[in-house]
């Protein structure tokens, strides 16, 4: 189990709710019930956020079975750590997304290490399951994403799409585009900052 980043989140920006709302307005109520150990409420919470969690994990892992395993790990962590969730510091979906992305990235790292070890032993490398671009494109439902991404400079938009739509790590993006790691991180940071400004008028 990796330690969870505990940071003092600021109050969520208004655009979170105005432009791409939380999956349901019942989430704050649900999470309070979950924090009291209400498993029925956790089942309801699962129903609401599972598509977002699974989508996040699968974008990174690109493997159905592994994505299911990690999604289960994410929900177990959401359950066990729910009592530490502070709704004044982050929204439920931001909390869940943060855990999902971190868990997925951790799994990628473990798999890569395992693969290096296997390669070292001279075994055959297995091909990665390609990301199904059609699924990704067809599942982009909210117009605001396309609109907001369209307002980004092309270099930032490309990086943001690769990172959060395609689920690539910053090192994979750097390798794919022939950029330095610092440039990729800078464009991720700049892109997210612009998205915040575009959608909320606040950085």
């Amino acid at each position: 189990m990796m330690a969870t980043l505990e940071v003092p989140f600021a109050t969520p920006h208004p655009w979170q709710h105005d432009h791409i709302a939380e999956p349901t307005s019942d989430l704050p109520t649900l999470i309070k019930r979950v924090q009291r150990g209400d498993q029925a409420a956790f089942a309801d919470l699962y129903d609401v956020i599972a598509p977002m969690v699974f989508g996040t994990v699968k974008r990174v892992l690109r493997d159905q079975a592994m994505s299911e395993e990690v999604t289960q790990e994410v929900f177990v962590e959401l359950w066990t750590s729910a009592t530490r969730f502070d709704d004044t510091k982050a929204s439920v979906s931001t909390w869940a997304f943060t855990i999902a992305r971190r868990r997925a990235v951790d799994r990628v790292r473990r798999e890569q290490s395992q693969r290096r070890r296997i390669d070292h032993l001279g075994r055959r490398r297995q091909d990665e399951e390609p990301l199904t671009d059609d699924t990704v494109v067809s599942s982009i439902e909210a117009e605001w994403v396309t609109r907001a991404l369209g307002e980004l400079p092309s270099d930032q938009r490309q990086i943001i799409e690769l990172a959060f739509i395609q689920g690539l790590s910053h090192s994979a993006i750097a390798q794919q585009l022939g950029l330095s790691l610092g440039t990729v991180k800078g464009r991720v940071r700049g892109g997210l900052r612009r998205l915040s400004v575009t959608l909320g008028g606040e950085s």
Partner: protein, 234 residues
């Protein structure tokens, strides 16, 4: 906002912070409200992007998840508030007879300890610490601020390293545990700092990736299960 914090915020949104970087960003966000606000905004923007790209998981996963949490308590992963001082732990040092019985049940094969003064051991610890795939965690608690754990999959080993660690009494030892989500503890091994207070110990065939690490003060030789409060947690 400096460029270092910008880099860390980007990595946080990508879910790619190392333990050390996470601690660094946590400290920056705690001391600087601007960093905290920027971090929150970046994470919210990343989450909002993801909310627009959803994929329904298989129905059977729901049953699997809900089944998994049925017998699982919340917030059982030991938190920093559960960590006690070494003095408080020592006050419980003379455990009841049951503790002695537990010590007798210690499975010899479960404990693998490397001598900390062995130069070969120092090299083997360094090999893990310096491995390309090494991940590190810092311990919080009463054993000093320098105690870290590092794990390398390629080395297939976990190491504990630190300085200025308080020495246990002659009839005591520190014991390292893997602690799972349900609070179950599995012994990794026992260790002691050297006469200078330095700890440098390697445990083979131990993958802590899915566990918390806890250190307790136990009777010399170690215990089958923790008999003392946790002194440090990572």
């Amino acid at each position: 906002m400096n460029s270092r914090n910008d880099d860390l915020i980007a990595l946080a949104a990508l879910g790619e912070l190392t333990e050390t970087e996470a601690a660094e960003l946590d400290a920056a966000a705690t001391s600087d409200s601007e960093v905290a606000a920027e971090l929150a905004a970046a994470l919210s923007a990343a989450a909002a992007l993801q909310r627009s790209i959803q994929e329904v998981p298989p129905a059977m996963l729901r049953a699997s998840v809900l089944g998994a949490i049925t017998a699982m308590d919340q917030d059982v992963a030991p938190a920093a508030s559960n960590v006690v001082s070494i003095n408080r732990a020592r006050s419980r040092r003379f455990a009841p007879l049951a503790t002695a019985a537990a010590v007798l049940l210690l499975v010899a094969g479960a404990v693998v300890v490397t001598s900390i003064n062995d130069s070969a051991s120092t090299d083997s610890v360094a090999a893990v610490m310096e491995a390309d795939d090494a991940s590190t965690r810092s311990f919080a608690g009463s054993l000093g601020n320098s105690l870290v754990a590092a794990y390398s999959p390629t080395e297939a080993a976990l190491v504990i390293s630190g300085a200025a660690v308080v020495a246990p009494e002659a009839d005591e030892t520190y014991q390292l545990w893997l602690i799972d989500d349900s609070g179950g503890a599995t012994s990794v091994g026992v260790f002691r700092p050297d006469e200078d207070g330095e700890v440098s110990v390697r445990f083979g065939d131990t993958d802590p990736s899915d566990f918390s690490l806890g250190v307790t003060l136990e009777p010399s030789g170690g215990s089958a299960q923790p008999t003392m409060p946790i002194l440090a947690i990572a």
